[in-house]
Symmetry: C2
Subunit: 228 residues, 2 copies
């Protein structure tokens, strides 16, 4: 009985990692689509949305069934709740990538203009946050998850800088306003991907050490805990 349950938990984790792979791929592709003005990559991102949505529902169903049929306690319960939340965040990461892909395609119809925001760098940073949060999930490593939280400040700072530099650009060159606004929204989308990575990292900590770290790390949080 317990062996079967443990097997089901492993299966749930495996499906979530497939979901994570799709979401990460979507982020990489939309940013590469922007960097190389590549409509094929953008179309691949847009086409991946139904698969991500279907997988989200499947994972929610699996997790709900486990809650209903087993009586998970303590760390197993926290694991399933964490999977439910991470699943939702990954779906939203995919949504943001689709938004970016659509915007890149729109921009490809406009004259190319130099932009004072390094979208590929911001994209790489947001993507790295998602990757690190998932690595923390795979390894049950709360310390690694903690490091993801620190990266979020960098993404936020790049975003504030983007707001200022784009605002200045528009005033100097009003003819590229539409391109600049698109870049502003794309930077916002990448910031939200970073926020989702933060959520995932917090869920890993919640699962592993049983602490709810949202809105500030409680003083008693011990990061020696690890699950192999």
């Amino acid at each position: 009985m317990r062996i079967k349950f443990q097997h089901s938990l492993d299966e749930l984790k495996e499906r979530l990692l497939v979901m994570a792979g799709l979401a990460e791929q979507a982020v990489q592709r939309c940013v590469a689509g922007y960097a190389h003005r590549d409509a094929v990559l953008c179309d691949q991102v847009i086409a991946s949305e139904p698969a991500i949505n279907a997988l989200e529902r499947e994972i929610d169903q699996m997790a709900g069934d486990l809650l209903a049929t087993e009586q998970p306690m303590a760390i197993d319960l926290r694991f399933i709740l964490a999977v439910l939340r991470i699943n939702g965040d990954l779906e939203r990461v995919g949504d943001q990538a689709v938004n970016i892909a659509r915007r890149v395609k729109e921009m490809m119809a406009m004259p190319e203009a130099d932009m004072p925001v390094d979208i590929p760098r911001l994209g790489a940073l947001a993507g790295a946050m998602v990757g690190a949060a998932l690595q923390a999930f795979i390894e049950g490593d709360a310390e690694r998850a903690q490091q993801v939280l620190l990266l979020d400040d960098q993404v936020d700072a790049m975003n504030s800088a983007a707001f200022k530099s784009l605002s200045a650009l528009i005033q100097q060159r009003p003819e590229v306003t539409t391109q600049a606004l698109n870049v502003l929204i794309m930077a916002k989308n990448l910031e939200r991907i970073g926020d989702h990575a933060t959520n995932i990292a917090e869920d890993v900590i919640f699962w592993v050490v049983g602490a709810d770290v949202r809105h500030g790390v409680p003083a008693e949080l011990q990061l020696e805990h690890r699950v192999a």
Copy 2:
């Protein structure tokens, strides 16, 4: 035992409604703060964030304890899962309101400029979506929840229009660029509040009729079901 469980569910619902009240109030205040350039209202929104965050944790804890100590099945399990999700969405609604309040305060330091976006109307619409989704939750009314999903298209359409009109304004009057970008971001924040209301409505349907309506309504969804 079951009576005690039912009592706990009622208590959970009540706490979530307190949370909802705080989130709705924050939305109303930040939009009124914009309309009347009222810094006091904005400060109230910003000051309400810790209370909303604390309540989110309390509700998550209550729901987690119920999952751990009882063995909720079927509709009760779906109710608790819906509360967990709605709780997260309400906290994010509060976050968006805080973002708007901060932006309004920044704008008050700049020269006033006429903007081609009716933020109060967009705010009223997003706020009404949240209110209707919560009313559907209170009444367990899937049909009312369904209506919320339709309103989301209006919010999205107003947002697309905002992007275009602000883009045109900036090209005509580059000197109001910063104000226009702030309004653009605020419109995006309000759109996200509408998205959270949509999520809440979907969770109500999931709870009441047991259907997962995210990403398209399944054909078999019958909306005659109601929970009194």
